[in-house]
Structure formats: C-alpha cells, structure tokens
C-alpha cells in the first residue's frame, strides 16, 4: 500500500515550500532572537488561503483536509518551527476544533474572521497544576443567569499573548472529573478575560506563549461549544488531530536539520575530503534519512485516517505519529549540530535553533511518557 499525494496536494506542497524558502526562512533568525510573532508570514498564509484549510469553502475555508494541514505545517517547519507552530495552532487547534464541534451559528460567526486572518485563534487546556493530568483542571464555569461565569487560569497557551478567539476547556461540574468538562469559545473582549504573563522560552520563540486569566469572566450561553459536560470528548479527539499536526511539525524540523547537515557534509573539507566521505558521518546521514521517511509515513497515515473520519480508530496511529516523530526530531536536529561541528553551535547557523525548537516536541501535546501510556492502554485492551 503506497501512499501517494494527489496532484493538488503536490501543488500545494510546492507552493508552500517556495513561500517558506523565499519569505519565511529569511525571518526565522530574527523572530527567534526577538521572540517576535511572525505577523508578515501570518498575513501571507492568509493570502495563500491555508488558514481555514479543513474548513468548507462556504465559511471561508479551503475545503481540504488534514493531509493538506500537515503539508503546510511540514513545509513551514522545515525553515521555521515557530511559524509552523503558529499556523498549526491557529488552523488546527482553534479553527478545526470549531469546524468539527460548533453549532451552525457559531461556525458562521467565528470561522470567517479566523479563516481570513482577521482574528487569531488559540486553545487553552493546560493549567499550572494540570499538565499531563489535564482532566484535573480547575478552571470553573458556573452557570449564572443566561450564561456562565469562568474563574481560573490557563497556562502555556500558544498564541495566548496575541489571540482573539480561544477554545477553552473548563469544569462545569468539578465533582464529575473528566465527565464534568465543557468546551467554550472565548472572545478576548469578554469582560473578566485578561492575558497573564508571556513566557520566555528556549525554543518556539517566535510562537508567543502565555497565561490566560479568567476573573468572573462572563461567557454567553451561545458560546458553549458542543454539549455541556461532554467537553472531554472534544478535548480527546482534538488531541488526536493535534498529535498528527505535531507529527508534521516534527517531520519538518527534522527535514530542515537533515538538509542542512547533508549540504554541509558535502561542502566541509577536512583531511582533504568532504566530511561526507567519512563513514561516521555517512552513518549519521543514513539514519536521519531513514527516520525522516518513517516519520513521513506515520504522520500522513494519521492525517489520511482523520480525513476518512476515523477519529476513534486513529488513537494509536496519532500517538505513534506524535511520539515517534518528536523523538526523531530531537535526534536528527542534535546530530545535525554534531555534523556541523563548532559551526553547529553558533547562532549564525540555523541548526542550533532547530535543536532548541525540537525539544518541545516531546513535551507539548502530551509528553512522550503520556503517549507511551496511551499506546499501552490501547494495546492492552
């Protein structure tokens, strides 16, 4: 069974690849150094029509699917992890979640401005005391009058410092644990909503991360996303496609580092030969190439399953994709630094940034340890 992209998908890849090389790559160093949101690239991605990549055309989307989302994410990540993260969070975590779970009225209200880049989207689930144990979240949503009052904090929210619209998970019935979680669509203008601190990070620096604070935040009842107390299901199935998207990002990071290392190994001369002539370097490049190919296969398998609507059946593949590709990204980027030697350690070469960006891949979206436990739970039945 050979996985092949359609002609349209290949054209999309070429378009995004050219855009990434010409316009995203030149900004990568600066947005990393300055921890600056890639606003120029975000606007251009809007123009390319890829923000609402899984959204039907009638709401302003591209009308395509998860394979396309992965293609865009991957090609962006090859040159800039932060831009890829920004895109995937907006397009996947926020827009796609609304597409799948929102009412008609909510879709008509929120999807167009998110798809045309007028509004930036994000998602908040993690809290200071609820990371791997996300279901222990404490953000409270109390029914009050015609709506809800939210109290609590979300942390490590990608696009938190700049987002306009957030999918937020809160406890409508704390005593029921996971069965008391509900999802909401929050607008930054809601009274009682504010942004907390912005985090300074080792990598993903151009992707702004922050805290969101809810202090008697008034949320109209129309902004309940999906059914009350059924938010856990939305969260979990959102995680499946998030994991595939992260797979695409890890794949892109690994590819970018590998391409740098390959080029350098052919050009760098020591002992009168290109270092690519030496067995130890050849072995590193061979392992990189192999692991990237495997990463590509598992990621796109997951994307294809999601496109076929197999959201429940894809639990294992999604975890495999996330776990495997993130560990590959760490290995490949670290080895790329090694291949570049002293130059790999210098900021004037991109591989050290790729290594820093790669480290979050095994942590965000469910740590490698959690992925292993999810997989074990599935295989042990």
């Amino acid at each position: 069974m050979v996985f092949e992209l359609t002609d349209e998908q290949n054209m999309l890849r070429e378009t995004v690849r050219n855009f990434a090389e010409k316009e995203v790559a030149p900004l990568a160093y600066e947005i990393d150094r300055d921890e600056r949101f890639p606003i120029e690239s975000f606007k251009r991605l809007t123009e390319l029509g890829v923000l609402g990549i899984t959204v039907p055309v009638e709401y302003g989307g591209a009308g395509t699917g998860y394979v396309e989302m992965c293609i865009v994410t991957e090609e962006l990540a090859v040159v800039c992890g932060s831009t890829a993260a920004t895109y995937a969070d907006h397009a996947g975590l926020c827009i796609d979640n609304i597409r799948r779970n929102a009412s008609e009225a909510q879709k008509e209200k929120y999807l167009p401005p998110l798809c045309n880049g007028e509004k930036i989207g994000g998602l908040g689930m993690t809290e200071p005391s609820a990371g791997s144990d996300v279901m222990s979240m404490k953000l409270l949503a109390e029914k009050k009058g015609d709506g809800y009052i939210l109290n609590g904090t979300k942390t490590f929210v990608t696009n938190g410092p700049v987002g306009d619209i957030f999918v937020i998970y809160a406890k409508t019935e704390p005593e029921k644990g996971a069965r008391g979680v509900s999802a909401f669509i929050i607008e930054k203008e809601f009274s009682g909503f504010s942004r907390g601190k912005k985090f300074e990070k080792m990598g993903w620096r151009g992707s702004p991360t922050g805290e969101l604070i809810f202090e008697d935040c008034k949320v109209p009842k129309e902004n309940l996303l999906g059914e009350k107390n059924k938010g856990a299901h939305i969260l979990m199935s959102g995680l499946n496609t998030e994991r595939v998207g992260l797979g695409a990002m890890s794949l892109g990071l690994a590819r970018g580092a590998y391409e740098c290392a390959l080029k350098y190994a052919k050009e760098r001369i020591q002992f009168n030969k290109p270092i690519a002539a030496f067995q130890l370097i050849q072995a590193k490049l061979a392992d990189m190439a192999m692991e990237i190919e495997l990463s590509r296969l598992i990621t796109y398998e997951g994307a294809a399953m999601a496109d076929m609507g197999l959201h429940e059946e894809m639990n294992l593949i999604a975890s495999y994709a996330k776990l495997y590709t993130s560990e590959v990204a760490m290995r490949v980027t670290t080895e790329a630094v090694q291949v570049l030697g002293g130059y790999g350690y210098m900021k004037e070469f991109p591989v050290e940034r790729m290594m820093r960006d790669a480290k979050l891949q095994t942590i965000g979206g469910g740590t490698s340890e959690i992925q292993r436990l999810i997989i074990a739970r599935e295989i042990l039945g």
Binding site: D133, F199, E200, F271, F278, G341, G342, M355, I363
Partner: protein
C-alpha cells in the same frame, strides 16, 4: 583500589562547590542572557587559588594534581558551565600548557599573573579551515631576525575576546605538515594581533569566544614555546590532558541536571502524586545516577593516569583513556540534560527554569576538544596498533 577521594580532594570539592554557589549562582542566568563575563570572575577565582591549580607554588600556583583540576572544573560546571569552560581554557589549556612546555623565563613571566587572575589565558589552535583536522592549520610563522611574523586566523577561541596570554600554534614549515608546527606564547598587545569578532553561541553563553586575526603579527623569538617545528608534541600531549581535564565539565553539568530533576520529580504533583511515584520517571532518574557514577569513575581514573603518564599522544595508554573519558562523559551529559528537561515538562522549556541552560550548554562538550567522532577514531587507532 580505593574509590574514595582523599580527604584533601573532598575538601577541595566542597570548597569549590560552595564558592561557586555563593559567588556564581546569583549571576549564572544573567551571564547566559546577556552573554557577558563580569570582570571580577577571574580575580575572584584567583583569590580562591584555583586558577593555577596545577602550577607549582613557586610561580604562584597551588601545586596540585590534574585530579584536583578536574574536581574544580566539575564543581564550577554544577553552577555555571560557562564559567567552567572559561576557567578550563585559562587554567588547563593555557597555564598548564605553559607549565609543561615553557622555559624558565617564560614560566616566570607568564605564570604568576595567570595564577592571580590579573591575566586571563587562552589557547588558539582551531582555524576556520582546520577543526578536526587540527594538523591542517594554515597560520604561518616566518622568521625575520629577532622575530617571527605570523599570519592567519584562529576560530572558536575560548576567552579570545578577553585573554592577555595565548598559547598559539602556527606552521613554521608548511612543507613538513605536522612536523612543521611550532607553539608560541602570544600577548594580546603584540602588534598585528587582534580579536576580529566575538561569536554568538547557543550555550556556554557568557564564556567569551572569538575569531582572532594575525596580520604580520610580530612575535619575539623568545616566545617560541618548546622547540621550533616540534610543536606537534606540545599539541598532542596537550590535547590528551585537555580531554582528561574537560571530561570533568560535562560530569558537573550532568550532576546539576540530576539534582534539579530529583527535586522537581519529588515536588511536582500530577494524578494526585509526585511524578517521582511513576515508573517512567523513576527509570530516568536511575539511568542518570548510573551513568553519572560510571562517568565519574572513568573521568577520575583518566585524570590520575594523565598525571602518571610521561608523555601523551599516539602510542600511549593515556591517548585512548583520556579520549574515552571525555567521549563518555560528554555524550552522557547531553542525554542526562535532555531527560532532565523532559522530566520538567513544559517548565523545562521556560527560561525562568535553569534546566534548559544546562541542556544548551551540554551539547558543546561533544564537539570541542575533539568531536565524539574524532575521539572514537583516536581510541580505535590505539586499539588497533
């Protein structure tokens, strides 16, 4: 075989560690952020007496063994790998090299201010086109009366931007390859010597790194270190000692990562328990402990053997043991640092937690002082002789 440190070494270990925590703990993060080395750091280490740790007392040193130097760099690295690196380039690559290879006049002139910290030392071997292929250096030194005229560029030189005294390698006879290399002692004020640029690194920030340029640099004949065209011996045995010494730095990095990880794992509660309760986390901590113990033994052994060895370089036991020591210690430190960030989860990625700094710092030691690949080839070369 007594695997315990002597009381003297234990006292040194504790006093350097406590000193590092007190003096350098408060500035470690800022040094990393701003990429600066405060100018009181070297004199402060001079006061503690560790800058000339292997230098005989008659020149102002402590007269201790290489194991003491390894312990000193290890303890510094537990707090600030950046300071440990600069310390190492000064005390080992420069001062110790001068102790081993310079003549009496040179030792009397250069060692005392290096021991007090009045002067900072460095060693310049690597060039833009000569990294792993160190013998391929292209800097030339041409005799002109009472001087040598040096021309060339040196790259990735630790302490380059701030050092007063450099041990520097150049080719006095290009035709002879390895056997045309001469070691020189260069002062930063020699005409024609300059720091062309300070390099920005991902880790070990604060330890200043430079590209140096020699443009018709005039070096007095008295500043030849050892014999003309015999610099290869200085270089090769210097490299063995450098490796045995620097293996202590990643050991300290790993120890810091381990300490931080144990603390976090006990304090961070998820699913109603400290994450230290979970098998996957326990396994990571156990592996860290095991590898650190192994690295410590190998590192200390190489340091002890290096002092006993009459010479280093090809055909000696220390040539492969020192390479093995830093090979293992450096790769171990990167793995431990990666797992340490992982254990800290999202917090491990934030600059407000020091663990990510140790991760960025760790990677360099797999590269500098001979890459892991070169270390493997050295070891194999000795095995197969």
């Amino acid at each position: 075989m007594d695997f315990n440190l002597s009381e003297e070494h234990r006292m040194l270990r504790d006093s350097v560690y406590n000193f590092a925590v007190k003096e350098f703990g408060p500035i470690a993060e800022e040094m990393d952020r701003e990429d600066i080395l405060p100018d009181w750091v070297f004199p402060r280490m001079g006061e503690l007496g560790i800058l000339g740790i292997t230098i005989p007392e008659e020149y102002g040193g402590a007269g201790s063994d290489l194991l003491s130097a390894v312990i000193a760099v290890e303890q510094l690295a537990r707090v600030s790998p950046s300071i440990a690196l600069s310390y190492g380039a000064h005390a080992n690559l420069c001062a110790n090299n001068i102790k081993n290879n310079a003549n009496e006049e040179q030792k009397n002139k250069y060692l005392p201010p290096l021991c007090t910290g009045e002067h900072i030392g460095a060693m310049a071997l690597t060039e833009p086109g000569a990294g792993s292929d160190a013998v391929g250096i292209q800097t030339t030194a041409v005799r002109d009366g009472d001087f040598y005229i040096l021309n060339g560029t040196k790259m990735f030189i630790t302490n380059g931007p701030v050092a007063n005294t450099f041990v520097l390698y150049a080719k006095t006879d290009k035709e002879k390859g390895a056997h045309g290399i001469t070691a020189f002692i260069i002062e930063k004020d020699f005409p024609g010597f300059s720091v062309s640029r300070k390099l920005e690194k991902v880790g070990h920030r604060g330890s200043p790194t430079a590209e140096l340029v020699l443009e018709d640099c005039r070096v007095p004949v008295e500043n030849v270190e050892g014999e003309v065209d015999k610099g290869i011996n200085v270089m090769m045995s210097g490299l063995d000692i450098e490796r045995a010494f620097f293996a202590g730095e990643p050991l300290g990095i790993a120890e810091a990562c381990f300490d931080l990880s144990v603390k976090f794992a006990k304090e961070r509660v998820q699913f109603g328990k400290p994450i230290a309760s979970f098998q996957l986390i326990q396994a990571k901590l156990a592996d860290m402990y095991t590898n650190i113990e192994a690295a410590r033994l190998l590192t200390y052994k190489a340091a002890i053997e290096a002092d006993k060895a009459e010479r280093g370089g090809s055909g000696t036991e220390i040539h492969k043991l020192a390479a093995a020591s830093i090979l293992f210690s450096a790769e171990m430190a990167t793995k431990v640092a990666l797992e340490a960030v992982q254990i800290h989860g999202g917090y491990g990625y934030m600059l407000e937690y020091p663990i990510q700094r140790f991760f960025r710092d760790a990677k360099l030691v797999e590269i500098g002082a001979g890459t892991s690949e070169i270390r493997r080839l050295i070891i194999a070369g000795e095995i197969l002789k």
